[in-house]
Symmetry: C2
Amino acid sequence: MSDLLDRLRGRGWRLTSQRRVVAQVLDGDHVHLTADEVHLRAAARLPEISRATVYNTLGELVALGEVLEVSTVGRAKRYDPNARRPHQHLVCSGCGTVRDVHPAGDALGDLPEAERFGFAVGSVEITYRGLCPACA
Amino acid sequence: MSDLLDRLRGRGWRLTSQRRVVAQVLDGDHVHLTADEVHLRAAARLPEISRATVYNTLGELVALGEVLEVSTVGRAKRYDPNARRPHQHLVCSGCGTVRDVHPAGDALGDLPEAERFGFAVGSVEITYRGLCPACA
DNA sequence: TCTTGACTTGGACGAAGTCCATCGTAGGAT
DNA sequence: ATCCTACGATGGACTTCGTCCAAGTCAAGA
């Protein structure tokens, strides 16, 4: 965790108490929180932190590549602090729960040259959708 | 197109002029429209159509599997009328252009049983990201 | 043609997220 | 140790995207 704070300081970040708290919340456990949940947990430690600051900080962490945005259909974005090990996501269509998964194939390689339309393809994002045991 | 209307009638849909117009708009050209764009185009043919009806109709078409929701990063959902042939999307990180692509692998099969956490996995959504020739 | 319940309407409502003017403070300068 | 100041925080208004609802309308079967 202090690793993260160190990296941020190394990039010229001012270490405000707000940013420290947001970083701590994200590092706390490996869940996929919405911005609102991050705000809730951050406010437990620093009651006066504002929503705008949480949004700003999350946006900056995403821009720095320290945190990933998980695109969800029709729900609030979720933030994934596990940006360092590549993985994909399994999303419950019922409750929105997100789990990290590690499929076997090579999706990038599976896209034939003829299908790339001259694009410089850099990444693949795979989302598996289904119902979790509780929602089934 | 009348194929689509036939299928919908076969499923017990009442064929209202509003539903007809939305179906026509979606069938018109193979683009990836937002709900608002669908409403705009539908209103060109049937000026008094309401936003609520467009949302309802799109939701029903998605539920019936006639249209796909494309998850976009942080913007409005897009609706893809090309639901009959399975395909994935190639998105330009520069300008946002979306192209349909057809990768070779079997992404669903690539997710090991041990990685499914008891979920009933039903679909995979793959998004390739990169820069199109114009943006590169 | 009549009837009826499915469909549509528009406006209020709500959730998620952005913007902005103003205030506060981290951290370098002295 | 204190001062300065630009960067960051604040909170409330605003925007965007979408849902809900009560009341009115109409497609299609009897």
